[in-house]
């Protein structure tokens, strides 16, 4: 049963960014993917369903914006004049940025249902859904609410070390149980090249993400290195893709975006 005319009718592809593990770069990858897609001429939305730790607004420097209502629902926050990236996050709904959202599951679930149904996205090429870590209320509710709209699938983010990979294995099980296709695994924070002497140090180990992809039989989308310019860009809400094309993380991020685009063109043909 597909709702006749819904706020997601104009969205061509929905993809989720998941991890079992916290702090591996889900919001970072969601942000950079959106920026890359924009640079390739696509219209992108990001739905941030991390209700306790909403990182997305700040990564686009729009954390002080408000959400307005229109006839069809809630108007997403546009990142700039050309309206090619729009966002929705609980971050925009907080009176004070330091307010803690101390909600139990049922209340979180109610807001997530609203986020999925009531945001007037309009026409989008991609809707990226950024999630908190885990396999709990937010994840179950989001996947169930999105099911009628047939999401493209999920990108799973991990860091290289075994402690992260251990949680991401569980997330793979979650995807299988919920019938969510896995588009691939990204190994983030994979190596650090010293900007002074170019020595590469594997601060969080190396290879775990690639190995997991092989073991689980899912595509490996690539390794993204630790890049202080990327961290700085995110802190300041800047467009890393536009401003730092020579930076060490850029080629990997561009490659991940290209694989997503190739995947969708394969799907339509």
């Amino acid at each position: 049963f597909l709702p006749e005319r819904s706020n997601l009718s104009g969205v061509r592809h929905i993809l989720l960014v998941l991890s079992g593990k916290g702090g591996v770069g889900k919001s970072t990858i969601s942000t950079e993917l959106a920026l890359s897609l924009r640079h390739s001429g696509r219209k992108v939305g990001i739905l941030d369903v991390d209700l306790c730790g909403p990182s997305i607004p700040r990564m686009f420097k729009v954390q002080d914006n408000d959400v307005h209502q229109c006839d069809s629902g809630w108007v997403p926050v546009f990142v700039d004049q050309d309206k090619s990236i729009s966002l929705m996050s609980i971050g925009f709904l907080l009176e004070k940025p330091d307010d803690a959202v101390v909600w139990r599951g049922p209340k979180k679930n109610a807001l997530i249902k609203q986020f999925v149904a009531d945001v007037a996205w309009g026409d989008l090429d991609f809707l990226i859904v950024d999630t908190p870590p885990g396999t709990s209320d937010e994840h179950i509710s989001t996947v169930e609410a999105l099911r009628p709209y047939q999401p493209l699938g999920a990108i799973l983010v991990t860091t290289p070390q075994a402690v992260s990979v251990g949680d991401v294995r569980r997330e793979l099980t979650f995807c299988k149980k919920m019938g969510l296709r896995v588009l691939g695994i990204v190994e983030n924070m994979s190596g650090f090249v010293c900007p002074h002497c170019s020595e590469c140090t594997n601060i969080f180990s190396k290879g775990g993400g690639e190995e997991l992809a092989k073991h689980a039989g899912v595509p490996f989308l690539g390794c993204v290195p630790l890049d202080p310019q990327l961290s700085q860009s995110l802190e300041e809400g800047r467009d890393f893709i536009q401003e730092f094309p020579k930076s060490s993380a850029f080629p990997a991020l561009a490659h991940i975006t290209q694989q997503i685009l190739d995947g969708t063109s394969q799907q339509s043909s």
Binding site: G53, D66, L94, E95, Q161, V163, R170, F192, C194, P228
Partner: protein, 324 residues
């Protein structure tokens, strides 16, 4: 006119399903659980509360390790705090992992694959050393691929069981490792442990604003539930290249790092710990980084922080005794 949406969170906090206010507080308006709570369905049985109190009677000090942010090193710190405190063989230490979806503690303590045994007196913690016992949902899963896909109420139930059914015995320090956020697990542990008492919370962050913005929320959570804050630890605080010895700020403190935040919010900064590739390696191997890399600057940072926590707990105890 376009309406601006805003959540007025000052009245929107869940009072807790076990609280006398459950279903009745202003915050309960509109919550899907309201009717259940108001009907008393979720109120903690006073007999149950008494049972928890009895079970936790032998626990001298409890420290909860929190962060608003994921991946900043809560579990790493909890494991090292446990090892650090258990170095004194005269002390009995327990490490409770209430991260139900992403239980990292078994791996970090070298206990992967261990199972929980039951006896007449309850569930047995899994022992790393004679004086260091561990409990985690990880021990209840049969495969590393098993996912715990549970909604809040079921997670709360397991946390209650961990406190009620585990035969902890007499413990000097109970360390509770938590998942990121400010949700069911955090509300529940504060509620259930109120039967014992919590000395305080140690809050972990990394230097950059994207972490600090979540950690400020966690600090507010602590204030709201009246959980004392022992202090903040700033992890991943700079990286010194092993080859050229230059320092890089991989996670830059663009808004002043934990130091500025602690000043602004009037909480203690317990210490800063630099990045060291050996930390992740030791965690993956299930070994104590403090023993594996005793010369690392990160080790001395961790040891100083552990000592400050110990001093805080001892003072606390002393003050309690004075009252009696």
């Amino acid at each position: 006119a376009a309406l601006v949406l805003q959540l007025s969170l000052s009245v929107a906090d869940c009072p807790g399903t076990g609280s006398a206010q459950a279903g009745r507080a202003a915050a309960c308006q509109g919550c899907p659980n309201q009717r259940l709570c108001a009907a008393g369905a979720a109120v903690t049985d006073p007999a149950e509360a008494a049972e928890l109190r009895e079970r936790l009677r032998g626990v001298k000090h409890t420290v909860v390790v929190l962060s608003g942010k994921g991946g900043v090193g809560k579990s790493t710190f909890s494991a090292l705090l446990a090892h650090g405190l258990a170095a004194d063989e005269a002390k009995q230490v327990a490490l409770l992992d209430i991260d139900i979806c992403g239980p990292s503690i078994p791996k970090m303590m070298g206990l992967e694959g261990e199972q929980v045994h039951q006896s007449g007196s309850g569930w047995s913690p899994v022992y790393v050393e004679e004086n260091l016992g561990v409990m985690s949902v990880g021990f209840l899963l049969s495969s590393p691929d098993d996912a715990v896909i549970w909604r809040g109420p079921k997670k709360n139930g397991l946390i209650k069981q961990f406190l009620r059914d585990v035969d902890w015995g007499e413990i000097d320090y109970l360390i509770v490792d938590t998942p990121p956020g400010t949700s069911d697990e955090h509300l529940s542990i504060v509620q259930y442990l109120s039967a014992a008492h919590i000395d305080g919370a140690v809050i972990i962050t990394t230097p950059q604003e994207v972490s600090l913005q979540d950690v400020r929320k966690e600090i507010n959570f602590c204030h709201k539930v009246k959980l004392p804050i022992i202090g903040v630890v700033e992890n991943m605080s700079g990286f010194v290249c092993p080859k050229c010895k230059n320092e890089s700020q991989i996670f830059p403190p663009t808004t002043g790092g934990a130091e500025k935040m602690c000043q602004n919010l009037n909480v203690s900064l317990l210490g800063k710990v630099p990045l060291d590739p050996q930390i992740g390696k030791s965690c993956d191997k299930g070994q104590s980084f403090l023993s594996e890399a005793p010369e690392s600057p990160a080790t001395s940072s961790y040891r100083n922080i552990i000592q400050r926590i110990q001093e805080y707990c001892d003072q606390h105890h002393f003050q309690e005794e004075k009252i009696i």
